[in-house]
């Protein structure tokens, strides 16, 4: 069902854990399946993401996308992190099965939520970042007969 990359990130997830006194923390839930992801950022004064950790209660795809997303944002600027879309994460994982596309949104939204938290705490505005919803859903229509 899953690509080798997905299985690798699932079996050996990178950056699992917490950051004490993180610069930003975001937790989002997926309305579609009830799964939850939390992301922690340690961001320095130059707005560079020095460290990132995550925790996920979710399926294989959720775990793997979380792991991959943290790798993609680590060492990046806040602005660059914002560009890490669910599509980019999926591509980096060699794709996901169609029913699992929504899982990748969890990571994208969690990044946004953590960045928002960081921006709020520091009273700054990040260009292009909107207040994230706590529950994400999506309009993907499944084939039904």
């Amino acid at each position: 069902m899953y690509s080798e990359k997905v299985m690798d990130h699932f079996e050996h997830p990178r950056n699992v854990g917490e950051i004490e006194g993180a610069s930003g923390v975001g937790t989002v839930g997926n309305a579609k399946c009830g799964d939850i992801m939390r992301i922690y950022f340690d961001i320095d004064d130059n707005q560079i993401i020095q460290d990132v950790k995550f925790k996920t209660f979710g399926c294989g795809a959720a775990v793997a996308t979380s792991s991959m997303a943290t790798e993609l944002v680590k060492g990046k600027s806040v602005q660059e992190a914002l560009e890490v879309t669910n599509k980019a994460v999926m591509e980096a994982l060699d794709g996901l099965p169609p029913v699992k596309v929504h899982c990748s949104l969890l990571a994208e939204e969690a990044i946004h939520a953590a960045l928002w938290d960081y921006a709020q705490k520091n009273g700054i505005k990040i260009e292009g970042l909107e207040k994230p919803k706590s529950d994400i859903g999506e309009e993907e229509v499944e084939e039904e007969y």
Binding site: E11, C33, G34, I36, K55, T56, F57, G60, V63, V99
Partner: protein, 392 residues
């Protein structure tokens, strides 16, 4: 590949070698159409009817009440849709439970779209329906009660005899989906007042694509699949002779070995459950305690999600499931676990392991050890567990 421990016998079972052996001659030599008039074909017909006799015997009824189908789903659809049609003049109300298999639930929903009314009985925290609620639900226009014999996810065995008695007393027909129960627990359709019963071959080490329905003599039920005059004009289609012969062998062995086999499974089941509950914190056993399928384990592990658990078990060579196989791929948590009152996120983190006769104590010890590791690993990455630990 390393050894595989298969703990998903409720999804499907391997056909026994004896079953395959019994089928073999009917593929290539005795391939006859049982309805043909020339004499060799009589052998195929005889083989089919011997299986019919055997199944009838296993249920305490006559051969003429057994009709072969392509499986459990077809039998469920047939029983429910054709009862609805045949008895529509009496009424259009059907009673079922909230924890039925989708073959029953989706068929009931189909009937609802077509002018029927369906009452979905609640179940208690162990999955038993409440007989009082059943009695109260019966109306003058109730034509059918369809309640499964044993649940495929949590193993709960319903008080079928009591349900049958209530149905009989009120003059309502009683169908039971016995796909999980047949061959695992003794069933007598007369003593239990069962009017229709569905079963499927591949759940009892028989072949896939074959099942049967018991229909009590005298019921007005007509065909669901129309066409040729097979199965006493009630189920059209060239008889699946090989499938039927395989089913017959599987039934023979399942009933011969039932007592010993299920006693062993039950012991292993209880042993594994005891170890898991004792050695892994924050988990609960789902399903019936005393009246439960001998091979069914269903446990919820708090703070972790089912699919991740299954994949990690798979990596360790362990095949298990979190709901019924035919809904895997669906994102909703099991309707059965929600019906017994589990919150959404706990229902999500549950594991079904269904044992088979080849399962050993060593297998279960290995599984418990792996489970401990995996649950620990998954909890360490669970935000829910983090919150829980911080709060306590």
């Amino acid at each position: 590949m390393e050894k595989i421990i298969y703990l998903d016998h409720a999804a499907t079972t391997p056909a026994r070698p004896e079953v395959v052996e019994a089928m073999m001659p009917y593929f290539t030599e005795k391939f006859w159409n049982p309805s043909s008039v020339y004499s060799p074909a009589a052998e195929a017909k005889k083989a089919v009817n011997e299986v019919r006799d055997r199944i009838a015997g296993s249920l305490g009824t006559q051969s003429q009440d057994i009709y072969f189908t392509a499986g459990g789903s077809e039998a469920d659809n047939w029983a429910i849709k054709e009862t609805a049609e045949a008895y529509a003049s009496k009424g259009k109300h059907i009673i079922t439970s909230k924890i039925e298999h989708h073959a029953v639930l989706h068929t009931c929903q189909y009937l609802e779209r077509n002018g029927y009314e369906v009452t979905y009985l609640d179940v208690d925290e162990n999955g038993y329906i409440k007989l009082d609620q059943l009695k109260a639900a019966i109306r003058p226009d109730t034509i059918l009660i369809t309640v499964m014999f044993a649940n495929n996810e949590i193993g709960t065995i319903q008080p079928v005899k009591e349900i049958g008695a209530i149905a009989k007393e009120h003059g309502v027909l009683f169908h039971t989906d016995a796909v999980q129960a047949y061959g695992q627990v003794p069933i007598n359709v007369d003593e239990m007042n069962i009017d229709m019963l569905s079963a499927s071959g591949h759940k009892l080490n028989g072949p896939k694509g074959i099942g049967f329905m018991y229909i009590r003599k005298g019921l007005k039920l007509r065909s669901f699949i129309h066409g040729g005059a097979q199965e006493r004009k009630r189920r059209a289609g060239t008889e699946n002779v090989t499938g039927i012969v395989g089913l017959g062998k599987a039934v023979e062995i399942a009933f011969e070995t039932m007592e010993e086999r299920t006693a062993k499974e039950q012991e292993l089941r209880d042993y594994a459950v005891r170890r898991i509950l004792a050695e892994i914190p924050y988990c609960r056993l789902n399903g019936g305690r005393d009246k439960r399928l001998p091979n069914n384990i269903n446990i919820s592990f708090q703070f972790i999600e089912g699919e991740s658990l299954l994949i990690m078990l798979d990596m360790a060579g362990i095949c298990a499931s979190s709901g019924s196989a035919c809904t895997s791929g669906s994102l909703d948590p099991s309707h059965v676990l929600l019906a017994i009152g589990l919150p959404h996120e706990i229902a999500h983190g549950s594991l079904r392991m269904t044992l088979g006769e080849e399962t050993t104590k060593e297998d279960m010890d290995f599984v418990v050890e792996k489970l401990k590791e995996i649950v620990d690993k998954l909890r360490k990455m669970s935000p829910l567990y983090e919150d829980f630990v911080k709060k306590h």
